[in-house]
Symmetry: C2
Subunit: 151 residues, 2 copies
Amino acid sequence: MTRRLVIGVVAMAAVAMLAGAALAQFAKPEDAVKYRQSVMFLIGQHFTRMAAVVKGEAPYDKAAFEQNAVLVDTLYKLPLAAFLVPGSDKGSGMKPEALAEKDKLTQMHNTTEAELAKLVAAAKSGDLNAIKTQFGAAGASCGACHKAYRK
Amino acid sequence: MTRRLVIGVVAMAAVAMLAGAALAQFAKPEDAVKYRQSVMFLIGQHFTRMAAVVKGEAPYDKAAFEQNAVLVDTLYKLPLAAFLVPGSDKGSGMKPEALAEKDKLTQMHNTTEAELAKLVAAAKSGDLNAIKTQFGAAGASCGACHKAYRK
């Protein structure tokens, strides 16, 4: 096998393992949907609080901003398994394509995870210009996945 | 003023400040309800995963148990402000008494927070007997508040 093919097979095996773990974690697909929606609602609330600061509508408080960034980063690590549960596109805002393209979804998830880690680093630095730039990058990453896989 | 009275006044002032912060954090009472429900659903999911281990229905994996304990501890720190939003008993599982007894609710919340911190410590120790005991104490603390303030 070529190196690229080996990497591809390993990546697919990792996705298959994750899907198996996803099945084990939720009693039924509805739980996975509710889990995702709960995580996404909380992320939305705390992302909006940061957005108000970035847009200059709320004062910048280093500790509070950092807390929101760390929390969003922590929450975002949770729902990937829930996105991979078969049948969990029913009665939810997720397009069926997401389940058919698990490796692409996983890749987009990992990209956003990396952007959020950078947002935490920027928040810790206290450099508001760096924060604003990285907040935009993180938001764009969220938006790309929403555009691809949200109804 | 007596020492006890001073402590009482300070505690009430702290609750009033929290209530003010709660109002500022949510655009409308419905958001506070959804915020609480999201947090509680996620806590329920991860608490159940720990319960399965405590009951011997799932194998004990130190790292996984610790991850669940830390996550529940992190999540539980979030919703207190959302419980104090005026009008947020409507269309929710919270009894109106919770809003009328904010200081008692806050005190119960703080007790549970302390129990969850102890659960994290037990989880980090890796002593399954200590974990089981503290899991019971934390669960009882959750139950006491549910009994008092959940419909």
